[in-house]
């Protein structure tokens, strides 16, 4: 197909020196993720193609240019969305991996530690309880034995006819009701 205006493609290609249609990047924070977005920037130097095809079907060329400018603007928007998608995709994968690691490794480990600590505490509690019970019973035993001795010595004293000693004037173990009972610890 031959066009009246000739091959302006070549002309356009040779004249493209500096880009007048550029994009500016800006960051947006979306729920903790820093996403980039592109903004189309059209510089004032867009006059580089205004004379293209002048005198040879230039109006259609200009129409084509307008259409392409609009198309590129839309493409820039699409590119922003696509970049956002790619970045979010990556972050979702990373986050999923972290969630799996926490769910299947960290939490079971901590739960095991909790169970272990609880069982240790229970065991210590039982040991303590047993110890206290033992002490209680030993104390009772000792008190019963001491009481037996005192009764024995009192009986002997009465048999010997020494009433004063029986009542406990000289015995080192004081038959003082208050002093005896003050010793007991309150044990649950």
């Amino acid at each position: 197909v031959a066009y009246i205006t000739g091959d302006i493609g070549y002309q356009v290609r040779e004249n493209a020196k500096r880009a007048t249609f550029k994009v500016a990047a800006k960051q947006e924070n979306v729920s903790g993720v820093l996403l980039p977005a592109f903004e189309a920037e059209v510089r004032a130097g867009a006059g580089q193609f205004e004379l293209t095809g002048l005198g040879r079907g230039g109006q259609q060329v200009q129409r084509a240019r307008t259409a392409y400018v609009a198309a590129v603007a839309m493409l820039v928007e699409l590119a922003s969305l696509q970049t956002a998608f790619v970045i979010l995709d990556e972050i979702i994968k990373v986050t999923n991996r972290r969630v799996n690691a926490i769910e299947y490794v960290i939490i079971p480990r901590i739960e095991n530690t909790i169970a272990h600590i609880n069982s240790e505490l229970d065991e210590q509690d039982r040991e303590e309880f047993y110890r206290l019970k033992k002490i209680q019973s030993k104390k009772k035993e000792r008190a019963a034995r001491a009481q037996k001795e005192i009764d024995e010595s009192a009986r002997r004293a009465i048999a010997d006819g020494n009433l004063h000693q029986a009542v406990g004037g000289d015995t080192p173990a004081a038959r003082d009701l208050l002093a005896e009972q003050a010793d007991e610890d309150v044990i649950f």
């Binding site: 290609r13 880009a19 249609f21 550029k22 400018v69 590119a79 790619v86």
Partner: protein, 120 residues
């Protein structure tokens, strides 16, 4: 992400396409030739080899000043392998239709990834 610090400098839109597509995009004003005589566009003709297309695509994606790479879908088809492997956030790769090849969402690499994400 070290990329985010650098992406403020990304301002250019690169293009790989057939003659008409690239001409139109250049008319819009995206064409740029830098000091090293590197253009940010490639016109793919019948005699352009697959290797040239691949090399240009990789070069565009490695350039620090390119923000978006536009590529005709039928050309994207020929380098589908490299496109599917490409998953960097910058520059964004957009597949666009051409005059003779309408856009087919089934073939788009990015949309395939969307399906993967929604599939699971």
């Amino acid at each position: 992400m070290a990329q985010h610090a650098a992406h403020k400098n990304r301002t250019l839109i690169a293009a790989i396409g057939d003659e008409d597509t690239v001409t139109g995009l250049l008319l819009a004003g995206i064409g740029d030739v830098n000091a090293q005589q590197q253009a940010n566009f490639l016109v793919v003709e019948a005699k352009t080899t697959q290797e040239q297309i691949e090399d240009t695509f990789l070069a565009f994606t490695k350039r620090p000043d390119v923000a978006i790479v536009l590529i005709n879908q039928h050309i994207a088809e020929s380098i589908r392998g490299i496109l599917d492997e490409y998953d960097a956030a910058f520059p964004t790769v957009l597949e666009i239709p051409s005059k003779d090849h309408p856009y087919d969402p089934e073939k788009d690499s990015v949309l395939k990834r969307v399906q993967l994400l929604f599939g699971d």
